[in-house]
């Protein structure tokens, strides 16, 4: 009696073990592996990371496929989230390549920086970055923070630049990601640089809808967002340099920088601001997967 039960239990345990082993070993090319990995990495396994931002994931996928086409072994570690999480990973070698945005990256390491234009920012980066991290060529493609309003609102108050917000007679509410409240270019920056007081609402991923719905009247929207054009939003100009220019720039672990520089620099050269917006359109409007978007882009640009 006990033997049958034991046998049954053993059979079930065996089945469970097989199931577990099967799940663990299934390793299609795109599957993100567990990040702890091995400390010592084979010199040609490049670990490409991305932020939890669909546009950044597309760029990362382009890097990954470009490297694979060039014969490298690539692991993907996407949707990592915040700089606090992936910068240490880059430094430790857990992640070796990451598509970043020059201005935001610089401000993360050097909040007091006075660099504002794309070239100034790019020039200031190597000093600001910690030991062991370097940047490759920056792309002309930009995706930076901006303050944006609906065209109706802009017409109502004749808004062209951020400074014009002083003309607005109703209370201003700024919407954006939760951390915007504490960023130097957030409400405090608006007050310091332009003398404009705003309330803050952490609209996060629904910022665009909130702007359209009117729950906020000023929004922090990334310039590569296709909806700026499709919805006719007005990006306010920034004459006082509240925002740093932010171009797409690859951040690389210094150990592998030389190996992959050629491949990645070619990608950066081919990526344009309009091109980036087009990629975002393919993702949000055509609902294509990052992998498809990436391979199509690489083919169109003769890089596959």
């Amino acid at each position: 009696m006990t033997t049958t039960r034991t046998l049954r239990a053993a059979a079930l345990a065996g089945a469970a073990a097989l199931l577990l082993a099967g799940c663990a070993s299934g390793n299609p090319l795109e599957e993100p592996t567990d990040g702890s990995g091995s400390g010592e990495m084979m010199s040609d396994t490049i670990v490409v990371g991305s932020q939890a931002y669909y546009s950044n994931e597309i760029i990362a996928e382009i890097y990954a496929q470009a490297l694979e086409n060039a014969g490298f072994d690539v692991e993907r570690q996407f949707n990592i989230g915040q700089r606090d999480a992936y910068i240490p990973a880059l430094e430790s070698g857990e992640v070796t390549l990451f598509p970043e945005y020059s201005g935001n990256l610089l401000q993360y390491f050097d909040p007091e920086t006075t660099a504002r234009t794309a070239d100034e920012v790019y020039a200031a980066l190597p000093d600001a970055l910690p030991e062991g991290l370097v940047v490759l060529d920056q792309s002309s493609a930009t995706d930076q923070d901006s303050y944006t309003v609906t065209s109706a609102f802009a017409d109502q108050y004749s808004l062209v630049s951020i400074a014009d917000l002083a003309n607005v007679t109703e209370p201003l509410t700024l919407g954006g990601p939760p951390e915007l409240a504490e960023r130097p270019y957030g409400p405090t920056g608006l007050a310091d640089v332009y003398g404009i007081d705003v309330g803050f609402s952490a609209t996060g991923d629904t910022t665009f809808e909130d702007l359209e719905a009117g729950t906020i009247n000023l929004a922090n929207i990334y310039t590569a967002d296709p909806r700026i054009q499709t919805a006719g939003l007005v990006v306010l100009e920034d004459p006082e340099g509240l925002f740093l220019a932010s171009n797409v720039v690859p951040v690389v672990n210094a150990d592998v920088a030389d190996e992959i520089a050629d491949v990645i620099n070619a990608v950066s050269a081919a990526l344009t601001p309009e091109g980036l917006v087009a990629l975002n359109v393919q993702s949000t409007v055509d609902e294509m997967s990052p992998a498809d978007i990436a391979s199509q882009w690489l083919q169109e640009n003769g890089l596959s």
């Binding site: 049954r8 799940c23 299609p28 567990d34």
Partner: protein, 227 residues
Amino acid sequence: MTWILDNLDLILQLSVEHLRQCIIAIVLGFVLSIPLGYLAWRFGLLRGWVITITGMLYTIPSLALLILLPTVFGYSALSDGNLIVALTLYAIAILVRSVVDGLDSVDTGVRGAATAMGFSGTRRFFGVEFPLAGPVILAGLRVASVSTISLATVGILVGVTNLGYLFTNGLQRRIIPEVLAGIIAVVILALLIDLLLVLAGRMLMPWTRRSRGSRTVAPAASLGAGA
């Protein structure tokens, strides 16, 4: 709808990853909760503490735990090991209670009879008490499994990729079918595991099959025993 059909491989891949993370946590949680539950049950003093601590663990929001554990213990927040540790802790919080309740539900008469027959401590535990506590523990295991599979989706907010990716990515890209696919996949996985556990229970505990169909009235005795 077409999005789902076009991206079946992504959904499948994420589901496999999701299942892997959850199964490890559930198994680990189960294995760890047996000795903990036994100790809590055996030593009355410990019971109060264990119940209180596991209850408190329950109240910590999962997102916070996922950030704080790596900060306090110094391991990488990125690895899915982080998620698995947190899920295991929540599973233990549920399962320890079940183990204690299950052992509680074993008739003292039966235990007495086993001792009278000559079963010593360990043999009695694994041969009599634990199997008889089975149905209650299995019920707890089913709840823990469903909870874990559902809870694991939060991992995406700390960078652990699983079915939760379909939620955040779907929100960013405004693709409703993507979010829906994520929900459906999680529900299917949870119900699948639940079904497997029920079948496993029937295989391993054939004596429960007899009472399955009947609507047995609760006898006064078992009510009085505080079952």
